[in-house]
Symmetry: C2
Subunit: 214 residues, 2 copies
């Protein structure tokens, strides 16, 4: 007996495409929604084996549905898919134990691989995203950040705004030489690589975390 699946996609065309691929994989598409809330209700009602959910939907995102389905202890396996490689959404989906995570652009191949995995009771995530998540171990360490002195933090914030040493020296009322000293001390304290611009890259990537601290 073919497995049942419900699709939720904001974009009707993309949804139809998914439906076609799933049918070609021998699945029984029993629902196709463009609205998150309706998809959620339908999943609760029909409890299909799988649900394929777009992230970008008005009302209720795929992630929202995933969370609520998990909370209700429904055993439908949830596959999330997105347009973009936003690592934070992927992280959330992983934490909520999504059963699959696909990228739209690789829909065909990803779907095949994912369905195969799900049938073996395995999870399947787009390998590009897994790799990306792995690489992003430049994670913010508040312990290291806390070792910075006040002046160093001020300089760091300037760096995060891509200010030059000269600009920083003017804003902070210190000489350019002093700014350079601070820069070096910051890099050392944060154990950054000796690559060029390593501090700038770190500052930009961790801006959100310290831009509002202190």
């Amino acid at each position: 007996m073919p497995k049942k699946i419900i699709i939720a996609d904001d974009h009707p065309i993309s949804g139809k495409g998914m439906e076609a691929i799933l049918k070609s994989l021998g699945l029984n598409v029993i629902g196709l929604h463009t609205n998150g809330l309706r998809a959620f209700n339908d999943i609760c009602l029909q409890k299909p084996e799988y649900a394929l959910l777009d992230m970008q939907m008005p009302g209720m995102s795929g992630l929202d549905i995933l969370e609520k389905i998990r909370a209700k202890n429904i055993k439908t396996k949830i596959i999330i898919y997105t347009m973009f490689t936003d690592i934070s959404i992927f992280k959330q989906a992983k934490e909520l134990h999504a059963d699959g995570y696909l990228l739209k652009e690789f829909a065909t191949d990803d779907l095949k691989a994912c369905i195969r995995a799900l049938e073996k009771n395995e999870r399947w995530y787009n390998p590009k995203l897994l790799e990306k998540l792995n690489k992003s171990k430049t994670a913010f360490s508040s312990e290291l950040y806390n070792e910075l002195t006040l002046k160093e933090r001020a300089v760091l914030k300037c760096v995060a705004n891509n200010m030059s040493t000269k600009e920083i020296s003017l804003e902070q009322f210190i000489s350019e030489r002093t700014v350079e000293t601070h820069r070096r001390n910051i890099r050392n304290k944060l154990n950054l690589s000796k690559k060029n611009n390593a501090l700038l890259v770190w500052a930009l990537e961790n801006k959100e975390f310290f831009s509002l601290m202190d």
Copy 2:
């Protein structure tokens, strides 16, 4: 007669805090929810003058609620607030014509200013975010990006990984001089400033958008 307001905040403590501030501003808090969906239903039912919505909520984010309220033509003025200064969420909220946008850390002052503005039928957004949005005229423009040639896009991706000109030349099998030429052409096509590292900064900030394109 005091204006009515409904609050939605994932975090009960933060919600209580908001409630206290709003009361001190003479508002009538008629609802306090920790769940997006319930808050949404309550707003539909009671149609208060204002709604104050947290972005981080399970089920339905403040943005989701904003969108659905607008779609239903309910005249409740929506104030969104967030913990972080994520510019993309702010942008979305602006596009959906949120009536207010606050940052949690400045809750007290922001709320006062915002309510005052709303009473004059004006919108109010946290000035820090407005400034940030303004500064980020480095915003991603797919039109401009589409003007880049294939080789230029390849080089841009390398830049976004903080690869040096030498490293790029080795990976792309071209001379360092050629990489430099590409870099300059990219900068010109994207209208980037002549600041040092402007390309690197742009590449890092827009990585998400082009990292998986083509």
